[in-house]
Amino acid sequence: MPKLTIDGIAVEVPANTTILQAAEMVGVEIPRFCYHDRLSIAGNCRMCLVDVEKSPKPVASCAMPVGEGMVVHTKSDRANKARGGVMEFLLINHPLDCPICDQGGECDLQDQAMAYGFDRGRFHENKRAVKDKYMGPVVETVMTRCIHCTRCVRFATEVAGVPQLGATGRGEDMEITTYLEGALSSELSGNVVDLCPVGALTSKPYAFNARPWELRKTESIDVMDAVGTNIRLDARGRQVLRVLPRINEDVNEEWLADKGRHAIDGLRAQRLDQPYVRKNGKLEPATWDEAFAAIVGRVKGLSGGKIAAIAGDTADAESMLALKDLMSAFGSPNLDCRQDGAALDPAVRASYLFNSTIAGIEQADALLIVGADPRKEAPVLNARIRKRFLRGGFPICVVGAATDLTYKYDHLGTGADVLAKIADGSHAVAAALKNAKKPMLILGMAALTRADGAAILAAAKAVADNCGLVKDGWNGFNVLHTAAARVGGLDVGFVPGAGGKDTRGILEAAGKGEIEAVYLLGADEIDTAKLGKAFVIYQGHHGDRGAHRADVILPGAAYTEKDGTYVNTEGRVQRALRAVFAPGDAREDWTIIRALSEKFGKTLPYDNLAQVRARLAFVNPLFAAAGKIKAAEWQAFGASGAIAATGFDYPVKNYYMTDPISRASRTMAQCTEEFVSGGSKHKPSDPKTGTHG
């Protein structure tokens, strides 16, 4: 533990700490451009120069390990002069276009030029201009502004695992570009915009929309996948203009997947902003009273067994609780939050959680992925797996389709029957898992939504038991969900009651006419054609599949428009705050159900959010502890049976369109065109430079 002095503060830090990190520990700020906590050290911007006594030259603090007895001055004349010089060089080729630059107001270069820059330029030669590069539908480039920090290159190579970015040429002719100017084909590409310390890489959909100081910032949770990425919603007026990640070391570190970042323009299209009632086969606008009257007129008097409810993939726990309470009031046991029909056991919490936790991936030393495509189903979680992979000593095996997961793995086969072989120990991988200290199994939805899903779950349990995945202080059994609402729904108990029907049963019964009324809470991923002649109430925010089939539409709020509780795939309860109000007559979802219950004379016992949350905590005490994780108890689950040797049918075929919001999003449509349907419209002709508009 070397001891050193930084600006007169004595500090003892672990060996191999850099001066910059040591300075951060004692609260001394050192300016930097190229250094980033989560990327490798490049040491090429030279902005972090400090003065170290007995050193003949200023030292780049980001790359210099601390030494015993070092005396560092970060604010001495020599350090300041060195930084001023670096800043002057950086500004030589940086355009003075801050007034038309989207980074303005949140630009590292702008801020640091204020602190360290000279008050006038001494450079009278021509500035260089660089042609702008195409990097896909979400990253706008103005390459003349680039200061060559290479943060984006390192991010793409190290974190995202798509080594397409690089620096060509050298010296004054160095340019950051993608290989042959193709789009950056990563689900995490939007993060390079956050990493860029200047305005070279900016958000394409958000271009010229707002200045950072005009935006109202609200903390929220991403619902585009089940990772529960912590986000910040930046809104102006009634529009959420952009989404940025918040730092949460346990969940997303500081990354955010592209869908969560850019699907928000879908919140402005296809919205349900007033109730609709189907009259003579056509949906017609109605008032709330008319809509409620239509529901009461059709549903009142039906026995509980003839009513059913299905909750969708982005429903908040509050609304699912309210709907569950309403269904109980009706006496209906037919409710399910698993609209994909996954064979999860709601009785055993450990059977449906990512028990190792996302941060726990970094401690694991062996991984078996079964029927999951984490790159598409949870890109941020996949980045964590890659982070662990890069550290080495982490063998990864995959049962399922052999896709590019951004890391190397052993492909054990496409058929699910391989799992049974691992479970009975006849497969070589079983021994490898047994020998590992902290082995992990990730079970995907593709494995659980099949007809033999319960048998696969049982086989996975057998693998966990036989190969020592569950031991003291470690649970290596993990289910990777694809829906933000799923774990919350299971925790609330939005599952069939005694003798109740699950999603498959509800659809079957509705088709036969046994179930006469179906309440869809934002459920769009079911086959609505199977609902037969049932009376369908759709509560949601987008005119998507469910709304097209509905007899009554109740306009609800999207995740940005309500205070909601979501439980991520690890079982972490997280609260999202409302950033804007829902459009038109739309209301927060639990209030709609509460108002409807009153019309039936079965008024639900809560009038405000605090009371709903209290009821949530009563139903399941886990909801009282937001942000925390409680380890689930390991119990028996699954139903043994035969496993078919067929391959998996993955739920996320097109990463960019998985839910009503992303399906309505123009940006996601562009991404689909670029990356999925393979028809890039980009033509590299006539590239412009930032300075020539």
């Binding site: 080594p163 970015l165 690089g166 060509t168 040429g169 050298r170 002719d173 290989y179 042959l180």
Partner: protein, 230 residues
Amino acid sequence: MSSRALAKDQPASFAFNAEMMAQAKRIIAKYPAGRQASAVIPLLDLAQRQEGWVTRPAVEEIAKILDMAPMRVLEVATFYTMFNLAPVGKTHVQICTSVSCWLRGSNDVIRACKEKLGIGMGQATPDGLFSVGELECAGACVNAPVVQVGDDYYEDLDLAGAGKLLDALKRGEKPAVGSVTGRDGSAPAGAPITLTEKPVPPPKQDFAAAKVAFEKAKADAAAKAAAPKA
């Protein structure tokens, strides 16, 4: 120099021929397992020797051989100006225009190319036999101005010398490399002006006698040490 990028028109494919592949394997074997990416520069050079320039399929083929991302190979290829990213003539004449050569008359060499080949800097003859390119300092300033053709340097050029060199190349000859004025390496042009006197040899030493004297002194000392003290 402008920004370096691969040429627009590219061949459909690239593969090392048997001889180059054997060389490539020999080069890759020099590096420890897992560090094969270190062979990227020599392999790009081999590709350029085979095709005359570095093509996009070559970049991708080398990336595949060395298990690298194509972007990483492209970064190297664009970094070093010695790699031609566009087709060049069969004989690629590179003229050093850095400061020493320029002061010593590299402009005359350029003029000679215009006169003899009819092409200027960065151009190629229509028959594809010759092209002229710029060379950053070739490190042969002492014999400036310098022209590089393939692996060979031609030095001490002037308008006439360069013309003669180009004529010979046009005839398909391979002129003697080095100084075209016939000076020996970097020895002074014309007669030496320093160190002209005959070198004085070092004084002769009789090593055999010295060895005998040394052995004798050693034996004496030993005898003295062994003798009983008086």
